[in-house]
């Protein structure tokens, strides 16, 4: 770092140093992260502990006594073991209150579950009884490995990388400074120049998050997020990549300089 500082001071002295602005634009995750193995095991343990320690379900409140609904509910429940005198219980003497074994978690089977499954088997005449099927977390673009799609790698941040025809390397888009414009304004305008105007972005701050010094060129990077729209350049290769793919695409030095800025 000190070497670079020394370089930059040297650059200040010469009148020919160039300021450029770059844009690190990301698409934030659309779905939550898949829990790791440790996380899912721990969450399961905690949820079982909580179930064991919860109060008895007040079925008398939800199912009025003597109604058909109550009948259907009680029919579905597993019968508890009652305490009978002069009987040996190897798993402990039953301790029932409100029909719940107090030393165990209460398992409740709801009548709705039965309705849902039965309607599912019959093909589901009514839309109200249809079981809700969530959308897949793996999309079509994921399977096709379409790097230009924003509908892939939903769990991860996606970053925009471009490759100009004249250059060899993939990198974040950079723009030359126009007279009188500010870093973040120029970066926003530059993105629309190369990728078309139909893109909605939000720049995090007007403070640059990184400077890359290459000889006389100083590139200041601004962070931004894409909220809607499409990046559709005419004469440019581009890709939306995750941090992992970023490592494979760019040069090693570029990765070490930039990796701390990416999620």
């Amino acid at each position: 770092m000190s070497a670079r500082r020394a370089l930059s001071t040297a650059a200040t002295a010469s009148p020919s140093n160039v300021i450029k602005t770059g844009l690190i634009i990301s698409r934030t995750p659309i779905v939550s992260k898949t829990p790791t193995k440790l996380e899912s095991i721990y969450y399961e343990y905690q949820s079982e502990l909580e179930k064991r320690l919860t109060w008895t379900f007040p079925h008398w409140y939800y199912f009025k006594k003597g109604t058909l609904a109550e009948k259907a509910y009680t029919k579905l429940q597993k019968k508890p073991i009652f305490k009978v005198p002069d009987v040996f219980y190897p798993r402990g003497v039953p301790d029932l209150k409100h029909g719940r074994e107090r030393s165990e978690k209460q398992v409740i089977v709801l009548p709705e579950d039965v309705v849902e499954t039965s309607s599912g088997e019959e093909g589901g005449e009514s839309a109200m009884l249809k079981k809700i099927v969530p959308n897949s977390r793996v999309t079509e673009a994921d399977q096709k490995k379409d790097m230009q799609s924003l509908e892939r790698a939903l769990e991860e941040h996606l970053y925009l990388l471009v490759k100009e025809n004249t250059k060899e390397n993939w990198e974040f888009p950079t723009f030359d400074m126009a007279n009188g414009s500010l870093l973040h304004n120029r970066a926003e305008a530059g993105l629309k120049e190369i990728g078309g105007p139909h893109i909605h972005t939000w720049t995090v701050s007007n403070t640059p998050c990184k400077v890359l010094q290459d000889g006389q060129t100083n590139t200041f990077y601004i962070k931004s997020h894409i909220l809607a729209g499409k990046f559709a350049p005419t004469d440019l290769e581009f890709a939306w990549v995750t941090k992992k793919e970023f490592k494979d695409k760019v040069s090693e030095t570029y990765y070490t300089q930039m990796s701390h800025l990416l999620n």
């Binding site: 500082r5 930059s8 650059a11 200040t12 140093n17 300021i19 934030t28 659309i30 779905v31 939550s32 992260k33 440790l38 721990y42 343990y45 502990l49 064991r52 320690l53 109060w55 008895t56 007040p58 008398w60 409140y61 209150k97 409100h98 107090r102 030393s103 978690k105 969530p134 959308n135 897949s136 977390r137 924003l150 509908e151 939903l154 500010l182 870093l183 973040h184 105007p197 139909h198 893109i199 909605h200 939000w202 701050s205 007007n206 403070t207 640059p208 998050c209 990184k210 400077v211 010094q213 100083n218 200041f220 990077y221 997020h225 909220l227 809607a228 729209g229 499409k230 701390h260 800025l261």
Partner: protein
């Protein structure tokens, strides 16, 4: 028991009255044990049921008593989780520190190169707000994952047309 007796008598009465419609029915009034007066009014009963939902009375499970071995297991699990969280925290803090350092470096370089740009980059824009289109990650994706049809000048909101 009581109800069934009454019902049976009533049934007998109807059948006998059907057989001999002209003859007036002889009725003997019997006073049974009083039951109705002791019943609570429906409003009171409703209030009691509602209170029973909130109350812990007879609804609490048995206290969880772990044997020494289970207790050790539980403590190990909790310690493992705490360390895992600490690792995540350290990693996050290191990342934040690195980001701050690189911002700091960029700003000091900018100060030397161009004081005007430096002042502009340091200025706080009070109108700069967090966008409402920003999406919070959900467990499953929405039906329309990305809004590609955004047109320039749609404003800050993108509504489905």
């Amino acid at each position: 028991m009581l109800k069934s007796t009454v019902f049976a008598t009533a049934k007998n009465c109807t059948s006998s009255s059907a057989l001999f419609p002209a003859k007036p029915m002889s009725m003997t009034f019997v006073r049974y044990k009083r039951t109705k007066g002791k019943e609570l009014s429906s409003n009171v009963q409703k209030a009691i049921t509602q209170m029973s939902v909130l109350s812990a009375n007879r609804k609490q499970p048995k206290r969880l008593k772990l044997c020494p071995e289970d207790l050790i297991k539980h403590e190990t699990i909790q310690r493992c989780w705490a360390e895992y969280q600490r690792d995540l925290r350290t990693e996050r803090n290191q990342c934040l520190e690195a980001q701050y350092a690189s911002m700091d470096e960029a700003m000091s370089v900018l100060e030397q190169l161009s004081p005007e740009l430096y002042t502009a980059a340091n200025k706080k824009d009070m109108k700069h707000r967090f966008p409402k289109e920003f999406r919070i990650p959900t467990e499953y994706p929405p039906n329309k994952i990305w809004y590609y049809e955004y047109q320039e000048g749609d404003g800050n909101t993108h509504k489905k047309k």
